[in-house]
Amino acid sequence: MKVVRYLALSVAAVLFLIPFYLVLRNGLASEQEITSPNWTFWPSEIRWENFAELFANPAVPLVRSLINSVLVAVLQTAGQLLLCGLAGYGLARIPYRYANVVLYLVIATLMIPAAVTFVPTFVVVSTLGWISDLRGLVIPGLFSGFTTFLFRQYFLNFPREIEEAARMDGLGHWGTYWRVVVPNSKGFFAALGVIAFVTSWNQFLWPLVIAQDQDSWTVQVALSTFLTAQSIEVEQLFLAAAVSITPLVIVFVALQRFLVRGVTETGIKG
């Protein structure tokens, strides 16, 4: 039985790794080798000069789009943790007469996926004049009812004794939150932060709608444009894809513990 199990797992693992292999193989080969009718398992000589050609290609705003993606992902992650963390704590711990009304308005948005409302949100953002603008890419994605809800559930279970000790020391809600609650919740913030970063880096529909000028493209929009228009060399396209997934592969290797926790936290309560 054990042998069958490991055999099945190994076959599945090979299948799962094939796309990564193809990205590297095609990114480091010459175009002739990729389009040759005889399949070669690995490029006969690795063309490192593909990197230089890719980054030197004036038709490919890869560096600019990578910078945009980093800005969007970092700002969205930080902004979401800040805004949704505060709101989740307020909803969990600060008594207020209309807190329930606010909570219901937050919960109601959980049933409406952001992707479905991209047309109406686009209408508002274009009225604000945020088309092809970093603000338009980042700000509408900050107000996640789902993240706020998760924070509220988490803070409801936060040990009250720790907070009461802080109150004894004369801290108000604000001081308690920043000096006691946040430092004791690093794991939870890291878990939701990693998920927010991965989601933001990989999102496509919203940047496609908003980033209409080439200067505001994120790396996903840039890749998609080259793919659908087939406007650049095929090996450069694959190499650009490899470059675009590198930051997330690093996140995966370095922060997998938080990532797995984040998936379970966000998935189950979905």
């Binding site: 799962f16 409406i112 694959f238």
Partner: protein, 288 residues
């Protein structure tokens, strides 16, 4: 108390109003108006936009496309993710390695996956991976992404590859919450280690996880856009087949053929109601 409540909740709530509630309200308003190339309501048309969307053809066809896609993707992902979770959870040696490998595609965007599927695995010419394999068996190459039903194979395998690891993680978390003594009791009672414990202990204990996974899968399938746009779209536009609802809305509201926000908004409202309906229905099942 009021002051500190709004200090914490205010900034988020203001954003929620401006970027979620105002757009939805505006959209409902626009859906009753004729609004082409403008986001200000111009002529009131009552329910005409809705009537068009629900009789016209393309939008209903796109809902049909979604249902077909969901019919393949949802059960397949569910079963395969559960199978992977059971396999990974049942081993000790190299467990982390296998879990990481299956989860790794989650690091890729749909755009990257589309690139690999369209230009390498399912490239229609002779040097594509799938056609190379066919060639070894003496078969003719297939233009995968432009021939029905083959493009469904492309789209479904792509989504499976990207999603399976995520749902596998959810199932593993669910499996690890099942108390071990339940299994021990079953073995003492003479249950076989395979099918019987799966049927009578594992599956009932995984009920909450299963319902959550089904809901997530269904809502995710409703929102399919990225891989359809990137695999099937070209710089000359999108082919007339295999249009999921968001693709249809994208080309109606933002396509080069004129920005029709009236019809686009009506479609968004219909889709939102559908998804909210599914969510409520599933919520009833969970809390029952």
């Amino acid at each position: 108390m009021t002051r500190s409540f709004w200090l914490f909740v205010g900034p988020f709530f203001l954003g929620l109003l401006v970027f979620v509630y105002v757009p939805i309200g505006w959209s409902v308003l626009l859906s009753f108006f004729d609004a082409r190339n403008t986001v200000t309501p111009t002529t009131f048309v009552g329910f005409d936009n809705y009537a068009d969307m629900l009789t016209d053809g393309p939008f209903l066809q796109s809902l049909g496309t979604f249902s077909l896609f969901a019919l393949f993707v949802v059960p397949l992902t569910f079963v395969l993710a559960l199978a992977l979770a059971l396999l990974v959870n049942g081993i000790q040696f190299m467990q982390t390695f296998f879990r990481s490998v299956f989860f790794l595609p989650f690091a890729c965007s749909y755009v990257v996956a589309s690139l690999v599927w369209k230009l390498s695995i399912f490239n229609g010419v002779r040097f594509g991976l799938a056609n190379t394999l066919l060639g070894w068996f003496g078969e003719e190459p297939i233009p995968w992404t432009v021939t029905p039903p083959w493009y469904w194979l492309v789209l479904v395998t792509l989504r499976l590859w990207l999603q399976l690891g995520f749902y596998m993680i959810l199932f593993i978390a669910g499996l690890q919450r099942i108390p071990q003594h339940l299994y021990e009791a079953a073995w003492i009672d003479g249950a076989s280690r395979g099918w019987q414990t799966l049927r009578y202990i594992t599956m009932p204990q995984l009920r909450t996880t299963s319902v959550a996974v089904l809901l997530l899968l269904l809502v995710a399938a409703y929102q399919a856009f990225d891989e359809f746009y990137n695999v099937l779209g070209t710089d000359r536009g999108y082919p007339p087949f295999a249009r999921p609802p968001l693709i249809y809305l994208y080309y109606t509201a933002l396509g080069s053929g004129g920005q029709d926000f009236g019809h686009g908004s009506a479609g968004a409202v219909i889709l939102t109601l559908l998804i909210a309906g599914v969510t409520l229905l599933q919520g009833k099942v969970i809390t029952r």
